[in-house]
């Protein structure tokens, strides 16, 4: 699983990254997490509110910082 955190390095982006890493650890997944800070790259995903969460090149979340539980739900839905 390849996960990207989209955001220009704001506090919310860091919070999203932390929630995502916690969710990955909680689920025992093997996933790579990459942060994307370039505005052009971010906008190319079609999101207009940061931060964004991309799983295997698909945007699953944009414009808000989810709880760790919510990220777990999103990630386990992708596993099924």
């Amino acid at each position: 699983m390849h996960i990207k955190i989209l955001g220009p390095g704001c506090a919310n982006c860091a919070n999203l990254e932390r929630a995502t890493r916690e969710a990955i650890d909680g689920l025992g997944l093997s996933a790579t997490v990459e942060t994307v800070t370039d505005y052009g790259e971010i906008a190319a995903y079609g999101i207009m509110r940061t931060p964004g969460l991309v799983v295997d090149e698909e945007v699953v979340l944009a414009g808000l910082v989810p709880t760790t539980a919510r990220v777990r739900e999103l990630l386990s839905a992708r596993l099924a």
């Binding site: 220009p8 704001c10 505005y39 052009g40 971010i42 906008a43 190319a44 995903y45 079609g46 999101i47 207009m48 509110r49 940061t50 090149e57 698909e58 945007v59 699953v60 979340l61 944009a62 414009g63 808000l64």
Partner: protein, 350 residues
């Protein structure tokens, strides 16, 4: 929040309705008791002379802080719940392929109702322009969004009533429409960083407003109130503190001599001061309230407030990522000119 265990028989919609009704009633009770409470506590219990300078300033500071906090809490909650039906993605879809003119009007209107934080100005700018929304129409959206926002409307309503609020909203929309249209007419596309036009949108955009339940919307409302209050309280305290000091210590004659409607440079000076200042409506309106009571004309004050919330140094620095300096200077000048015009117009007709 209720501590009762959820009952199987209780209808969730009904329970939510009852909780909201109780919250609204509690809010109204606090709002009505605010003034008598401070009169009683500071006047009767603490024995302060509320007509003295220090007593008046303390009373003003406490009463105004509570009043503004209550107004903000109520209005941010209601607006967030209503806005959860809109999203920047939907706005972009509505604006795609619009001609200038109609597009500017629509963009300014959508700027008011779309949930949007100026911290997302850059990705939104790229997203709009890359999706084919004209530059001037995008600008109308970006100008209207901070200028006519729920915080400003909440506080204007609470402090000045419906008349000045409608005037402010109408003026803000007009500035956003006209300034965006002018920027579009000037054909400044070459001053946008080229990568914006080269950005290819891939993947289907997700709509964050899709599939939300009423419980989600109410929770978003509560979270937003917390988030905004955490963000603006320093501005609010400084604004009310300065307001209280002016209320108590700066004589009205000083303002009458320097900032009355007779002073032809009043509005220009107000806008010149307001542009580099960075604050939000919550920090500015307590000051506006006091200055109005001291006799500074409404047009000058609204111009000061608009210049402060619509244009700021940090925002222009952010926009440098996508706009070349020439376009930023044009953007600031066109908007500032619109604000000056509105200020003089209001001073002349009010």
């Amino acid at each position: 929040m209720t501590t009762d265990a959820p009952t199987r028989t209780g209808h969730p919609g009904l329970r939510r309705g009852a909780t909201l009704a109780a919250a609204a009633l509690g809010w109204w009770a606090l709002y009505s008791l605010n003034l008598p409470f401070w009169d009683w506590l500071l006047g009767d219990v603490a024995g302060l002379d509320l007509d003295s300078r220090a007593g008046g300033a303390v009373h003003f500071f406490l009463y105004d802080s509570v009043k503004i906090l209550l107004l903000l809490t109520g209005i941010i909650f209601v607006v967030t719940v209503l806005r959860s039906f809109m999203s920047v993605e939907r706005t972009r879809a509505l604006l795609g392929g619009r001609r200038e003119g109609v597009g500017n009007v629509l963009a300014a209107g959508l700027g008011v109702v779309t949930p949007f934080c100026s911290c997302s100005a850059v990705p939104a700018f790229i997203g709009f322009v890359a999706a084919g929304v004209p530059l001037g129409v995008t600008m109308s959206f970006l100008i209207a969004s901070p200028l006519v926002n729920e915080i400003a409307i909440a506080l204007l309503l609470g402090l000045f009533g419906i008349g000045p609020t409608l005037l402010y909203v109408a003026a803000g929309l007009t500035i956003a429409i006209v300034a965006g249209w002018v920027i579009g007419r000037l054909k400044l596309e070459r001053y946008v960083e080229p990568f914006v036009f080269e950005t290819k949108l891939r993947g289907k955009p997700i709509d964050p407003a899709y599939g939300l339940t009423w419980d989600d919307r109410v929770r978003m409302g509560v979270e937003e109130v917390g988030a905004i209050l955490r963000k603006i309280w320093p501005y609010l305290l400084v604004g009310i503190g300065l307001g209280a000091a002016i209320h108590g210590w700066v004589p009205a004659e000083w303002f009458a001599a320097h900032a009355s409607a007779d002073n032809p440079f009043g509005v220009l000076v107000a806008v010149g001061l307001g542009v580099p200042l960075y604050s939000n409506a919550a920090g500015i309106l307590p000051l506006v309230d006091v200055l109005f009571a001291k006799g500074v004309p409404m047009g000058t004050l609204l111009a000061f407030m608009m210049a402060t919330v619509a244009l700021s140094l940090p925002e222009t620095i952010l926009l440098k990522r996508v706009l070349k300096p020439r376009l930023i200077v044009t953007f600031v000048s066109v908007v500032a000119a619109g604000i000056v015009a509105v200020g003089y117009l209001f001073n002349a007709i009010l």
